[in-house]
Symmetry: C2
Subunit: 245 residues, 2 copies
Amino acid sequence: MTELPLDTPGAPRPTLAAGDLPVAFSDPVYLAAVVDLLGAIAYGEMSAFDRLSEDAKMAPELADKVELARMACTEFAHFEGLSQRLTELGAQPFEAMAPFQVPFDAFHARTAPSDWLEGLVKAYVGDGLAGDFYREIATFLDSDTRTIIVESLSDAGQSRFVVDRVRAAIAKDPRVGGRLALWGRRLMGEALSQAQRVAAERDALTALLAGGVDRPGMDLAAIGRLFTRLTENHSQRMESLGLSA
Amino acid sequence: MTELPLDTPGAPRPTLAAGDLPVAFSDPVYLAAVVDLLGAIAYGEMSAFDRLSEDAKMAPELADKVELARMACTEFAHFEGLSQRLTELGAQPFEAMAPFQVPFDAFHARTAPSDWLEGLVKAYVGDGLAGDFYREIATFLDSDTRTIIVESLSDAGQSRFVVDRVRAAIAKDPRVGGRLALWGRRLMGEALSQAQRVAAERDALTALLAGGVDRPGMDLAAIGRLFTRLTENHSQRMESLGLSA
């Protein structure tokens, strides 16, 4: 197990070389871990579609509703790409997603937004956190899988829209900022709690982070630094919304 | 006003020639009518996105939910194309859609499906009816507008999916067929009632059907035949679902 300088900005990240797909996937543990990971991200994208299309109903104006619908369809397009990749890897996409339905649904049930602004903050903070986490894991994967994951996390202009709307709402009524700051903290807590649940249940995913004979991995100190980075990025996102983390 | 042989299968349909866009749009009545029509279709597509993403929540399995989400995103892509066209014509898309919010929302409020199968029948029967109607109107339009409308009505494999699911449900429990047949008749009735409301309120649209100095139109007998065709197509769709119309 090699400790990696992941927290050094600009440091080269350890990855398997391009074109090594057959070798990497000859390891059944690796294949199982990638299927797990893609299944988790795919189900997350489908949940995001659900959540965004539901939140669109709370939009104050038709133009806002259209923005949310556009985000929902971007997430769905990512879902389709991930499903296709799962099929290429010989997995049945819906089977690969099944283990993640309960934790994702639990997260969304516990964090159902009570209004339009809470929905926007959730979309921004939740997607940001998930994206950071998946990008970190992707550095341990073969280049094809990494590319698919990173593409599926691309922001289609959503962030700008959310930041503008939330800052405008706080400017209009500063009390909104206090309520949304609490909401952001709750989202982070619930996300970490569901992530722990997944880590405890999915051995293949955990093994991926720990590395293997031919693969780099993270020791406990590196995992600690990973969580520090996730928390720091979360704080930056809250700040960009004009909220204290 | 010229009476058109629209009900003769295979008869050449009267349309303005390709490339005549500037001439056609120099008539402000024509421009207003096209903006109205595109606004109506665009709002209809956005409503369809809403309805399908809502119905997706009732899906018995994840695979079914994905099918509905895919349909919803196809409708949204059509919405985006129509909005762009409205902008090209110098219209503000949301203003063009505004007059149609009330009748479309009323239609959907009066026909909220109570279960998954009612949602499927509504998607199939409602989209089919709207599509037939818009295609009929499109024959009176310049070729660019007609192309955009016809493309926005394309079926992305939805029909096959709906027909399969509904027939399977009826085969399993024939009583379902009776309930869904009543539902289909109610959908047709509510759709006609909202269409009448739109026709009464939107003079430009009605003028489009009636034709103008340089444009072909329909007399009352032709409009009667149009409704006969709409009803016949509706009956065929009900039959393909295994339902009596």
